[in-house]
């Protein structure tokens, strides 16, 4: 189940917990999204994520379920921050475990594309140049569209 966390997340601890005790998994791929101190040349002091508690987790879990149905996975996890995030902190952590590495890479990649374009979260950057609300980029939608033509593996 996907979780939404109000406060710092520790990608290393999440990765270790995800790997612990597995002797059936050959490959674990993780994605960590970090808050950058500048985007498009604008300094960012705080990134604030708005979420709809309950609804957002449900929607993220549905995206996870899509990935599980699409790929031959042993396990999959997604943790997303909400609230205020500082540069250098993790915003999102995704991990996929499979017997073989291609499946794990594809599933983590797929889930990130879906979270970027379909998870009900709204991102705001505050910095010396003021406040800016962010939307998924055209490149995010193009990335997500890659999967429309593909079949299960």
């Amino acid at each position: 189940m996907a979780t939404l966390v109000d406060g710092p997340i520790d990608p290393g601890a999440l990765l270790d917990a995800f790997c612990a005790g597995r002797t059936d998994v050959g490959a674990v791929v993780s994605f960590t999204g970090l808050c950058r101190a500048a985007t498009d040349g604008r300094a960012v002091e705080t990134l604030t994520l708005d979420a709809w508690r309950g609804f957002t987790e449900e929607a993220m879990t549905a995206l996870e379920d899509e990935a599980r149905a699409r790929f031959d996975l042993i396990d999959l996890m997604a943790v997303h921050r909400w609230g205020e995030v500082r540069p250098g902190e993790a915003i999102v952590f995704v991990a996929a475990a499979a017997a073989h590495r291609r499946t794990a890479f594809d599933a983590a990649d797929y889930l990130m594309d879906q979270l970027k374009t379909r998870a009900p979260l709204w991102k705001r950057e505050d910095g010396p140049d003021g406040r800016r609300w962010i939307e998924a980029r055209a490149s995010d939608h193009a990335d997500a569209a890659r999967w429309n033509m593909e079949t299960k593996r």
């Binding site: 999204g33 708005d50 709809w52 609804f55 449900e58 993220m60 997303h80 915003i91 999102v92 990130m112 979270l115 970027k116 374009t117 379909r118 998870a119 009900p120 979260l121 709204w122 991102k123 705001r124 406040r131 609300w133 962010i134 939307e135 998924a136 995010d140």
Partner: protein
């Protein structure tokens, strides 16, 4: 009256996140919300998300006074 929830830039521009608004359909609610000039401009942009009782809907959907209706801008997770 339906309970209206706003998220992201919509809440920021409106200055509130939750309020009862008079209206018998989602577009009727949008019309009332659009009396606020900044919100009108935001609500008119493409990709707006409309959610009635936690189910995403498309087009104009009838609502009752007991319904919860959420409006949100395009998402930006990850």
């Amino acid at each position: 009256m339906p309970r209206v929830l706003l998220f992201g830039a919509f809440a920021d521009v409106a200055g509130w996140r939750e309020r009862e608004v008079e209206g018998a359909s989602t577009e009727a609610l949008v019309a009332v919300l659009s009396e606020h000039e900044g919100l009108a401009e935001r609500l008119a942009r493409p990709g707006r998300m409309t959610v009635v009782n936690r189910v995403v809907v498309r087009g104009d959907v009838a609502v009752t006074p007991e319904d919860e209706v959420a409006f949100a801008p395009p998402v930006s997770g990850g």
